[in-house]
């Protein structure tokens, strides 16, 4: 029988249709779908928020949409675990495996069926969220100023430009050299990698905290491909250590690096939800321009130490798109992640029975998401033990750390940026990001899992 792509596609199509049908009938998924609808439509009506329209929109996007995506992810992970394992347990696979079906076709069919189902459920969630949002925003009696603020700050897609003058890595190296010279660091107690990581974390925290009289400088490069005349906003996430002092009491200046001129002093006034914004004047916001932002925490009776957000303290936002497109692209990224979870669940179901597959896959996903915290707490524990003269880490910890780190590194592309958080923050989820997610998560990661599962299915007895 010569291999024919059309025949292969026909078989995959048949299996995908059946997998879709089987998953759609599963009680677990039906319960999750009901929960999903309840969360999407019920949560925004139940949670009061801070009483502002912006707060309500955040509740809808962060909590309702975020929880819906989470519920759907869990449901699809477990459903996919059952995709192959239940077929093996109930013997259905015997009647498929004795047909001219390659194991890879079998796996791909199952996966594509689950992908189609998750796409439909996500579309329902997205359309529901958008409709609910529009209904709420355009109800009679909506405060027009608040509506304007929501439209200008949240319901749009803004490209984020972060400062490029990050010297934390070099500073950490230097600090470690100093510690070593002082005899305060021993490689046998804490590895160089761990020590650098911890020092970098410390330096970031130190950098974020600005005492009265201290200064900070950021360099922000506007990209050359910025759309012409696109509005550019400087956004600062800042808070005051003292409840009595204003976080905006410092002095700010903006300078064009290419054409050094007098620094332009500006004031940040509209502070809300821990953020302040400034619309950058068009003459400063030209493509390719690099801007320097200087901040002096001027000492005075009203001032106190302020803290900038460690990751996004100061940033430029370039408006490049609307909310509907951003929502769609966010859901595409979420769908790619769910697709990877489905692939992982199917792979687990290929190796184990359903309960074991569900447990193993859930554990690995959880470990990937939270492994970083384990390592950090382990590091702090090692510091304490070392200071007390005890062994730095147990053998178990020495073995588990590389595993967790590897998991974290592998999972990083899938979890590094939350599209839902970006959406609710008004940050652009670009087509490039969506297509990269699709290529990486659905193409490479799921592809590797598909080949691995097909190999296992080929090696496994199904009788």
């Amino acid at each position: 029988m010569p291999y024919r792509f059309a025949h292969s596609a026909a078989r995959i199509d048949a299996i995908a249709a059946l997998a879709f049908r089987a998953a759609a009938r599963s009680r677990l998924l039906l319960c999750m779908a009901a929960l999903l609808l309840l969360v999407t439509f019920g949560l925004p009506l139940v949670i009061v928020g801070d009483g502002t329209l912006t707060g309500w929109v955040h509740v809808l996007l962060d909590y309702a949409l975020g929880l819906s995506a989470l519920a759907l992810s869990i449901a699809m992970l477990w459903t996919s675990c059952a995709g192959v394992s239940r077929d093996i347990e109930q013997g259905h696979i015997r009647l498929v495996a004795v047909r001219p079906v390659y194991r890879l076709e079998l796996w791909l069919g199952k996966w594509l069926g689950l992908l189609a189902l998750s796409a439909i459920l996500l579309t329902i969630t997205g359309v529901g969220t958008y409709a609910l949002l529009q209904w709420h925003l355009h109800r009679p009696g909506t405060d027009q100023d608040e509506l304007h603020a929501v439209n200008a700050q949240v319901l749009l897609g803004q490209r984020r430009v972060l400062p490029g003058n990050d010297t934390i890595a070099e500073d950490a190296e230097q600090r470690l050299s100093e510690l070593a010279a002082q005899g305060r660091w021993h490689a046998e107690t804490i590895s160089r990698f761990k020590a650098l990581e911890f020092i970098a974390r410390q330096l970031r925290a130190e950098w974020a905290c600005v005492e009265p009289g201290a200064t900070r400088t950021w360099s922000l490069a506007i990209p050359n491909d910025m759309p012409p005349a696109a509005p550019v906003t400087l956004r600062v996430r800042i808070s005051s250590l003292s409840g009595e002092s204003s976080p905006l009491s410092g002095r700010w200046t903006l300078t064009r690096m290419a054409t050094p001129d007098q620094p332009w002093p500006f004031l940040l006034t509209n502070y809300s939800h821990g953020m302040a914004r400034l619309t950058v004047p068009p003459e400063y916001a030209s493509p390719g321009q690099t801007l320097r932002v200087d901040y002096i925490n001027t000492p005075g009776p009203q001032s106190g130490a302020v803290i900038f957000d460690i990751d996004h303290g100061v940033e430029l936002l370039i408006t490049e798109g609307g909310f509907a497109g951003n929502l769609m692209r966010s859901l595409v990224v979420v769908w790619c992640r769910i697709g990877l979870l489905c692939a992982f669940g199917l792979a687990a179901g290929t190796c184990f029975s359903f309960p074991v597959a569900a447990f193993v896959s859930s554990s690995v996903v959880l470990l990937s998401l939270t492994g970083h915290y384990f390592i950090t707490s382990d590091w702090i524990g090692a510091e304490l033990r070392a200071s007390q003269g005890a062994s730095a880490a147990s053998i178990m910890q020495q073995w588990s750390e590389p595993v967790i780190r590897a998991l974290e590194r592998i999972a990083a592309p899938a979890i590094s940026q939350s599209p839902i958080a970006m959406l609710s923050d008004g940050i652009l989820v670009s087509w490039s990001q969506a297509s990269t997610s699709a290529a990486l998560l659905l193409g490479i990661y799921a592809g590797v899992l598909a080949l691995l599962s097909a190999w296992i299915l080929h090696r496994r007895e199904l009788g």
């Binding site: 199509d13 004795v98 001219p100």
Partner: protein
């Protein structure tokens, strides 16, 4: 359509299957050195008590289990080759069909796995449903079927690709006598057009009715094999059937046989077997039309399985 060839449909040489536990320790030697040759176009019966290795052998022939030792060729190829599965049909002992799929969609799903085009699928499904007497239940989920009906739809799915080799594991289990007869007729029709049929059954009468050759397994070994005639013929004895005679004529005949041949003949009245009697009753009853929810008795083999 099966290709006429003189080579064997199935060749098994020194087949051994040892099941192992999680730690790879041997637990059961289910098949212990089987040698079998199943010629093409014949109905071959594999008999044996429970645990004799029949199902294990069949699963190895289907590529579901892997042999521990020995060589297996199915239609000239390894049973694990995907290509050979295009030419095999399989009815498992238990119904492994998707319970929520209606009968028509069940057949459509398995037909799609053979990449049959839509028109061929539709024609074959209609004919298959008609053949197994389930045309009236085409849109009922398989999960609602009785055991006999599930067996019938299982048989239909096994034949949907018009296979060259059909492997039937207990095909008549759970079927009423009409269903048994139909299945046997289908097997004979298939064999008549060159399809090889391998079946296992506990119902020895069924095997005797349809099989050209058979093998008896016990404890993973072949204990006897050959044609049915070779195995079942009682040597040095013949039976002669004649019309009913008057008592005088009978007395004269027996005296003649004793005198001329010096033998003591045994005289009895041949009786119709129960299956044939039952079928006669049902055939007469079926002439009176009535609605039914179970399987219908059509007695027809699907057209695509009749073409030679």
């Amino acid at each position: 359509m099966p290709e006429p060839t003189e080579s064997a449909a199935v060749e098994i040489r020194g087949l051994v299957k040892v099941f192992r536990d999680f730690w790879r320790r041997p637990t059961v030697r289910a098949v212990n050195g089987i040698d079998l040759t199943i010629p093409r176009g014949k109905v071959f019966g594999l008999l044996g008590p429970n645990g004799s290795g029949k199902s294990t052998t069949i699963k190895i022939l289907l590529g579901l289990l892997f042999p521990s030792a020995g060589d297996v060729r199915v239609l000239g190829e390894s049973p694990r080759a995907v290509a050979v599965k295009q030419r095999i049909g399989y009815l498992p002992e238990d119904s492994h069909l998707y319970r929520y799929l209606p009968a028509r969609e069940t057949l459509d799903f398995y037909a799609r796995l053979f990449a049959l085009d839509r028109a061929t699928r539709r024609a074959r499904i209609d004919q298959s449903l008609e053949m197994v007497g389930l045309a009236h239940a085409a849109n009922r989920p398989v999960g609602e079927f009785s055991k006999g009906m599930a067996r019938r739809i299982g048989l239909a799915q096994a034949l949907i690709n018009d296979p060259q080799l059909v492997i039937l594991d207990e095909p008549t289990a759970g079927l009423d006598p009409i269903g048994c007869r139909q299945v046997k007729d289908i097997m004979l029709a298939l064999a008549a057009r060159g399809t090889t049929v391998l079946l296992t059954s506990h119902l020895l009468a069924d095997v005797e009715d349809v099989c050209d050759r058979l093998a008896i397994l016990y404890n993973g070994k072949v204990r006897a094999q050959g044609t049915v005639q070779e195995l079942l013929t009682v040597p040095d004895t013949i039976s002669l059937s004649i019309p009913e005679l008057s008592p005088d004529a009978m007395r004269d005949l027996l005296a003649l046989l004793r005198e001329r041949l010096g033998i003591e003949p045994r005289v009895d009245h041949p009786s119709m077997d129960l299956e044939r009697f039952f079928l006669d009753v049902i055939t007469k009853a079926a002439d009176q039309p009535a609605s039914l929810s179970g399987a219908a008795h059509t007695g027809r083999v699907a057209e695509f399985l009749r073409r030679s």
